[in-house]
Symmetry: C3
Subunit: 159 residues, 3 copies
């Protein structure tokens, strides 16, 4: 379902299609698929989250990101969308919408992203791929592969 603006307070929220959103979440302009469960203290911007996903507490998924169906995302994970984040242009003027390039992350179907991982701008996490907890992922992860470490490196491929 499309969510324009929603915050949860001290009750878990159950929406149509079996969507559950736990306490103290902030969502705006995002699409959430049926059966998806979202932990507490999450912030979602203008992103798309698939069906039957599980996303744990304190995770931040801001504008542009795409999470396909049946993806697991642990706690305190961040998806980044800006390769050179800053607040001002060189001339000191505040950064406007045209002054930076949105590079969203895609987490493909049935991928699994461990707690406290960070996914860098423009990265694709392949179908069924596994990102170990705490990994810092700056390059695409092939389908079925496992990555680990900072920077994340390939551990083994299951495909």
């Amino acid at each position: 379902m499309q969510i324009t603006k929603l915050e949860t307070l001290t009750a878990d929220l159950e929406l149509d299609g079996g969507i559950v959103i736990r306490k103290f979440c902030v969502l705006y302009d995002c699409e959430i698929g049926s059966g998806t469960k979202i932990g507490s203290h999450c912030t979602f911007g203008r992103c798309s989250i698939g069906a039957r996903c599980k996303i744990e507490d304190g995770t931040t998924i801001c504008d542009g990101h795409v999470v396909e169906d049946e993806v697991f995302i642990g706690a305190n994970v961040t998806f980044c969308n800006d390769r050179y984040p800053r607040t001002c242009n060189d001339d000191g003027s505040m950064l406007g919408d045209d002054d930076w390039l949105l590079e969203p992350v895609t987490a493909k179907r049935r991928s699994s992203i461990g707690s406290n991982a960070v996914i860098g701008p423009g990265v694709t996490i392949g179908e069924g791929a596994v990102v170990a907890c705490g990994a810092v992922v700056m390059h695409d992860v092939p389908d079925g592969a496992t990555v680990i470490g900072n920077p994340a490196r390939l551990m083994r491929s299951l495909v």
Copy 2:
């Protein structure tokens, strides 16, 4: 004391035995020892937290984990309890309670876990051990040892 279900809102909560729980926390079915202070935006599941602990903002300690007395845990720390997290079985059915193995973390007495660290499933942090901030701990840490890095490695042993 045993807490069945509790959320804090815009006031710090002081409970019997000198327990303090700061704002925007979510606790359910957990045991908290006397004198323990919990920062804002924490999420605790069915876990056991000892006496005289200090746990900082944004930390997530979910089902099964055990934190003994006088443990320090920094901000944005996550304890993991599932080695192979996923949302669905291979046949596409949603994961049930019997489809995964709970492997809780134990943080022993007077251990200290730095901010943004991640503790992997089944890991024991030894008595008086130190986990550096940002460490990703996938193996047991001996009593009195210090670990650092991703993956965390032994820095020195004090015992």
Copy 3:
């Protein structure tokens, strides 16, 4: 402006000078400069934040830290102020204010700190310096330098 005690709930808060503080934040005894935007679920202690900064969701900046003007700080970042965090003295008494040394972080003008980074106690992030997402920074970063990794190491210097 000086903020003595403030929590945001389910509305974004717009203060004098164009300061915006998003939902579920906790601020106490901190100074915030004009034009600064603060994401949801942030916790700020007795710190000083400059003007025209952007700080994203879930970031924790506790007592003593200094963030100068036009600094970018991503999501789930933690600034540390205690090199040897613990809850008790060796004799078992609870730690008092005189039993630890406050070593605050300084993030200088126009520096940029990526999501899920941790900045260690006493560290200075130089003017215009860049801390990559997920970096664990335990040493000072020169003006204009970029650091990456855990522990963070110098990637290149622009000055």
